[in-house]
């Protein structure tokens, strides 16, 4: 009797196990189907998705920061060792630069006062001023499908979606999603990037689009004015998200098959410390941050 009961309970347990396995399998299949449907219904401009993206960046970035810290330390050490050799020459160079910049600053202050007076005389109302927020890149996208970076600054620091990102005064990308403390930027070479630009020489307006290679294309020209290899491409300021005149790159090749390809001024491997352009509609230049070299 005991043996029969034991056998029955064992077969019941086996059955429960089998049902559990089957339910689990059905759940996995259901989630695969669900994620496949999500691909087609999840629009990239969805507000909820954008907010969630910011939250995920906020949660994940501290982990990326911790793990990347040793790499950052090693990198800094190598740079320090390299710099140590020519520290004297660099010191002299920096001192000269500081004195030059001080002269420039005085000159610009005078121009600013003059500018304000002229604006008052002409009742000129548009006072958009570009402040730069210095920060650094924390991590990059984990696949070959996108060219994006995690940025160590978020809404707390005043970062907003579509703000431009500069390295050494050249445009390298735009902010794509913003969390409280961290944000994500896409590079100009990312396939989702579309930036209104113009050819500096001819003032012809066009769009710069990325294709996940290192060399984005210039398309949709406003008119048929010929462009030449070596022409500088700058932002046009159309759309109001980016100021006009920020250099992006030079035209590297023109062909019927590949179109007009530009060579960016900054390669993505050189993006480490960045500056986010924060446009502020206030009067005059604040004392704490003066942007003078955007288009230099």
């Amino acid at each position: 009797m005991g043996a029969i009961l034991n056998k029955l309970s064992t077969s019941k347990a086996v059955k429960i196990q089998m049902i559990k396995k089957l339910v689990r399998k059905i759940f996995v299949i259901m989630f695969i189907v669900f994620s496949f449907i999500l691909i087609f219904i999840g629009k990239p401009d969805n507000v909820i998705l954008n907010r969630t993206s910011g939250v995920v960046a906020d949660v994940m970035s501290p982990f990326v920061k911790v793990i990347s810290y040793p790499i950052y330390l090693v990198g800094s050490f190598i740079v320090d060792v390299k710099n140590f050799r020519d520290v004297d020459a660099r010191n002299h160079e920096l001192r000269t630069e500081i004195s030059k910049l001080k002269e420039q600053l005085n000159y610009f202050k005078q121009i600013e006062v003059e500018n304000q007076e002229l604006r008052k005389l002409n009742n000129f109302k548009t006072n958009a001023v570009n402040y730069l927020l210095s920060t650094r890149v924390l991590g990059s996208s984990g696949s070959g499908f996108t060219h994006s970076f995690l940025v160590d600054a978020g809404a707390k620091e005043g970062v907003k979606k579509y703000q431009g990102v500069l390295v050494d005064g050249y445009l390298v990308g735009q902010i794509n999603s913003v969390g409280t403390n961290y944000s994500r930027m896409i590079l100009i070479s990312d396939a989702n990037s579309k930036i209104p630009v113009q050819i500096e020489r001819t003032k012809t307006r066009a769009f710069l689009i990325g294709d996940n290679t290192d060399y984005p294309q210039v398309v949709h020209f406003e008119n048929q004015e010929p462009v030449q290899i070596g022409d500088v491409v700058v932002t046009s300021g159309m759309g109001g998200n980016l100021p006009a005149g920020i250099p992006v790159g030079i035209i590297g090749s023109i062909s019927e098959d590949n179109g007009i390809i530009i060579q960016p001024f900054v390669h993505k491997s050189n993006i480490d410390y960045i500056k986010v352009i924060k446009t502020s509609h206030t009067d005059g230049i604040k004392n704490f941050l003066i942007e003078t070299n955007i288009s230099e």
Partner: protein
């Protein structure tokens, strides 16, 4: 005696947490920015494949989904794509009964190369035909090459975790 039981409790605890923790670590590692190193790969596919192949029960598909969710948002690709890819590879590896994948490294390596190539190509064709037309195919292949080159590097520590901790306490 007390110390021994404490140690056993810790090992038992770790055996349940280490599969997802190691996968999470590799996921975060794939986002770490190295200025000189340009090509990126979806490294988290390696632990997903590995734990699926070992049929570890504590590494549930919920973790796989969560990793896909995180990867989707941090990557900025079409939402749901990585979730679909991760769950598919997990499902195929976990539920297939035809090939004894975990018997030899070379066999599992070959299976990993083929399955990831198929899924990455699928991702490429769907993305390029439906969402973004101008994705560079060479970059995708390069990214896959980096992924398969990284497999042996991550296989060894994952296998050590499995043999020393997970398999003993989580059979």
């Amino acid at each position: 005696m007390v110390r021994k039981s404490k140690y056993k409790w810790l090992k038992s605890f770790l055996s349940k947490q280490l599969p997802w923790l190691s996968s999470f670590f590799i996921l975060v590692l794939s986002f770490v920015f190295i200025p000189v190193y340009n090509v990126k790969a979806t490294l988290v596919l390696i632990p997903i494949f590995f734990w699926g192949m070992k049929k570890v029960k504590c590494f549930d598909f919920i973790f796989v989904m969560l990793f896909g969710f995180i990867q989707d948002f941090l990557d900025g690709t079409q939402f749901g794509f990585n979730m679909f890819i991760f769950l598919s590879i997990y499902f195929v590896v976990f539920y297939q009964k035809f090939f004894p994948l975990d018997e030899s490294f070379s066999f599992s390596y070959l299976a990993f190369c083929i399955s990831t190539l198929v899924l990455i190509l699928l991702k490429y064709f769907v993305i390029s035909s439906m969402f973004i037309e101008n994705i560079n195919f060479f970059n995708i292949l390069l990214s896959w090459a980096v992924l398969i080159l990284c497999y042996p590097i991550f296989y060894w520590p994952l296998n050590q975790i499995y043999e020393r901790v997970v398999s003993k306490y989580n059979a």
